[in-house]
């Protein structure tokens, strides 16, 4: 009896690790070790045309004296805040729409996924064509609607906004899907009960949906934050960080440093700095969220 009890307790204690083992094995083997390798690279002066040289934290020190770094941080912040805010708000609207029951819903739900499945390189080519000065569809449509009277060179005059739009178009299905799944998880009878009580749809959204969706919203924001920080393909094809570095988001700057300038050590240091920054941001966000939750008593 005693022994069976101990075994049971041991089992319970071992269970989570048993459940975790496949994921952990993969993560350690395929990401953990390379991560250590990358950390080592960040301590080297690693150029192709010279022997590698251990330089300690020199690469990290260089970050602080690099004026482009600060500029890039600001640009990254602008891109991330702009795109994440827009993505979460639009995703909510879209998810609420797709949550409604209407004939043809399944097809529409699939169709809205198309942008996400479109190859990133094709997405880039597509938006480059959409934004074409003078003869692009965006200029043409706005001209025909009488919104514009002259053609606009979108990528020259509004590079950041154009980039955010092109990025948003492609990733929007991602947050929408998460939020939609969250909505599906809320028992419908809750709404029905509220409706019987005479609550309007806005009240129902504020009183039922949002509170129940709190963790889902948090999840969406965090995932989008990470995704936006790692924006690459659309930058590479539309602006390559230009014009005049106005869209040089950090992730692209890191790629450029490592694979274009072949300065692998500094590139790795930049990557770790970016990672640290994201971690801090995420922490702050989660902490703020939980404090807000405490304050409202939820």
């Amino acid at each position: 009896m005693e022994r069976a009890h101990t075994r049971r307790r041991l089992q319970t204690r071992a269970t989570p690790f048993f459940l975790l083992s496949p994921a952990l094995a993969l993560l350690i083997a395929v990401a953990g070790f390379p991560l250590i390798g990358a950390a080592r690279i960040s301590l080297l002066r690693l150029r192709l045309n010279a022997p590698e040289q251990f330089i300690g934290l020199e690469n990290y020190r260089r970050l602080f004296s690099d004026p482009k770094m600060l500029q890039s941080l600001g640009i990254t912040a602008m891109f991330v805040i702009g795109s994440v805010t827009a993505a979460v708000v639009l995703a909510y609207l879209l998810a609420l729409l797709l949550y409604q029951d209407f004939p043809g819903r399944r097809v529409v739900r699939t169709v809205v996924l198309i942008p996400w499945a479109l190859a990133p390189v094709v997405n880039g080519i597509m938006w480059k064509s959409m934004y074409a000065p003078n003869f692009g569809p965006l200029n043409d449509v706005l001209n025909r609607l009488g919104i514009l009277s002259q053609s606009v060179s979108w990528l020259v005059d509004y590079p950041m906004a154009s980039l955010i739009l092109a990025y948003l178009w492609k990733v929007l299905p991602f947050p929408t899907l998460i939020i939609l799944a969250g909505l599906e998880g809320i028992p419908r009878d809750l709404y029905e009960a509220a409706e019987v009580d005479g609550a309007g749809s806005l009240t129902r959204f504020r009183r039922i949906t949002l509170p129940l969706q709190r963790t889902i919203t948090l999840l969406t924001v965090i995932l989008m934050l990470v995704d936006a920080l790692h924006v690459f393909a659309v930058v590479d094809i539309l602006t390559r960080g230009g014009p005049a570095d106005r869209t040089m988001v950090l992730n692209y700057a890191i790629f450029r440093t490592a694979f274009r300038y072949l300065d692998f050590g500094y590139g790795a240091a930049m990557a770790f700095a970016l990672t640290a920054l994201v971690l801090v941001l995420t922490f702050v966000y989660i902490r703020a969220q939980s404090e807000a939750a405490l304050a409202t008593g939820r």
């Binding site: 690693l46 192709l48 045309n49 260089r62 390189v121 480059k128 934004y131 074409a132 000065p133 003078n134 003869f135 001209n143 009277s149 002259q150 053609s151 060179s153 979108w154 990528l155 020259v156 005059d157 590479d236 602006t239 390559r240 960080g241 230009g242 014009p243 005049a244 570095d245 450029r256 490592a258 694979f259 274009r260 300038y261 072949l262 692998f264």
Partner: protein
């Protein structure tokens, strides 16, 4: 554990015992083919890839060519990773000046394959992009230079002589303004006089370079110091700026147009003149790419002068080619790789590249070849190339090229968007270039 090792040992013995018999067996008499791995753009419409697969047949399957293809910007990423990770899977790679200057420590020098007598058979600066640090690493596959294209039909419509393209800056300005118009009368310009690609990255630098050399300037002086911010550099940048903002005959949107998009608008008959690589000519003949109004109506010549007193024209000569890697040398397949490259750059292949895609042949003899100079679909292009060769300018390439390119380009973009005075932008670019060249 011990059991398994014993099992392996037994297996090994069996293999060793069986091997001589297997090797003697008739089905295995043929040696496995020698595999050469080539990293390049995709095989569709690629004359060199086609030649490489022909080579497999020519050698009766003795050599197999594995074509590792990627979009061309991906080639650089792949090379960087492969070399940094000590990879040995690539024998031959596409290269050009910007890559050779970075990757040459991983290429195998083949100076002995290029005796002086051989070098003279190539067009100006054709070897330059496969050479670095005093050595030659490969074989040029096509040369790259800019031409001036004009649409004769649009010239006629505007009352201009279609046989006389502009030869000076003043003439360019005059024709350019005359050819810029609002055809449908909706208050918006829908036909532009002239187009030069000024997209972020190399198109912007290339465009500036061409004007800079025509102004008599240079990027660096002989000791490697930046001098493109002198009065000649200013004159060059001013010339571009004026075409956009003073004479308003280049669409400011050209700042976001790459070379392919520039060809597209020209070949749709929406721009009357452009500066472009040889591919502009091939596309202007291609009914899937050029409109009926454009096909047969395009002329090609050398670039107009900025100041005839300085230099009549200046294109930027460069080339693309194939380099043999050090790992190929370690594998002992340099001779085989060289033979493959000889086949891939033979006369027939050069001709096909020229006809289908406007890839200009590196071989000098072809420019005097009557078969080509008399071919009406090629003659103007061949003549323009020969003439451009009289004003040879080497395309700017230096170690740290990507960094230099980005530094210069970003300042030029700022200047041409009207965000910075031209001189200030040039000075800032020169400071950045000097800092990069000094090293960390």
């Amino acid at each position: 554990m011990r059991n398994r090792r014993r099992g392996q040992g037994v297996l090994l013995i069996i293999i060793v015992l069986v091997l001589p018999f297997a090797a003697g067996a008739p089905s295995l008499a043929q040696q496995p083919p020698l595999v050469l791995r080539v990293l390049d753009e995709g095989p569709i419409g690629n004359p060199w890839a086609k030649a490489a697969s022909e080579y497999e047949r020519v050698t009766n399957g003795r050599v197999r060519v594995e074509w590792i293809s990627s979009p061309w910007p991906g080639i650089q990423t792949r090379l960087a990773t492969a070399f940094a990770a000590g990879d040995t899977s690539i024998d031959i790679t596409k290269t050009w000046g910007g890559w050779t200057t970075e990757f040459w420590p991983f290429f195998h020098a083949i100076d002995d394959k290029w005796p002086a007598s051989q070098r003279n058979t190539l067009l100006t600066y054709a070897l330059h992009p496969v050479a670095a640090a005093g050595h030659i690493y490969g074989v040029p596959r096509h040369v790259t230079l800019y031409y001036f294209y004009w649409n004769k039909k649009m010239f006629q419509e505007a009352g201009l002589d279609p046989a006389r393209p502009p030869q000076t800056y003043e003439q360019l300005v005059a024709t350019c303004t005359k050819l810029t118009k609002d055809r449908d009368g909706d208050g918006r310009i829908d036909q532009w006089g002239y187009a030069e690609s000024m997209d972020v990255a190399s198109p912007m630098l290339n465009t500036f370079e061409r004007w800079l050399y025509r102004a008599g300037g240079d990027i660096l002086d002989s000791r490697g110091n930046p001098i493109f911010n002198d009065r000649r550099g200013l004159r060059a940048l001013q010339a571009i700026y004026d075409l956009i903002y003073t004479h308003k005959c280049i669409d400011p949107g050209a700042l976001q147009l790459g070379n392919p998009a520039t060809r597209q608008v020209f070949n749709a008959g929406r721009v009357a003149m452009m500066s472009m690589w040889g591919s502009g000519w091939a596309e202007a003949q291609d009914p899937t790419r050029a409109s009926k109004d454009v096909i047969g109506n395009v002329g090609v010549t050398i670039l107009p002068a900025l100041d005839p007193a300085i230099v009549r024209s200046a294109t930027i000569h460069g080339s693309e080619g194939y380099a043999i890697t050090k790992s190929a040398a370690q594998r002992g397949v340099v001779e085989e790789a060289w033979r493959l490259l000889q086949y891939m750059t033979s006369r027939a292949v050069q001709l096909e590249g020229l006809k289908t895609r406007g890839y200009m042949p590196p071989s000098l003899a072809l420019y005097a070849d009557p078969e080509l100079t008399r071919d009406p679909s090629l003659a103007p292009l061949m003549a323009a190339t020969a003439e451009a060769g009289r004003y040879p300018v080497k395309r700017f390439v230096w170690s740290e090229y990507p960094r230099l390119e980005d530094a210069i380009e970003s300042e030029l973009q700022a200047a041409l968007r009207g965000r910075k005075p031209l001189q200030a932008a040039l000075d800032a670019a020169a400071t950045a270039v000097a800092r990069i060249l000094k090293g960390p």
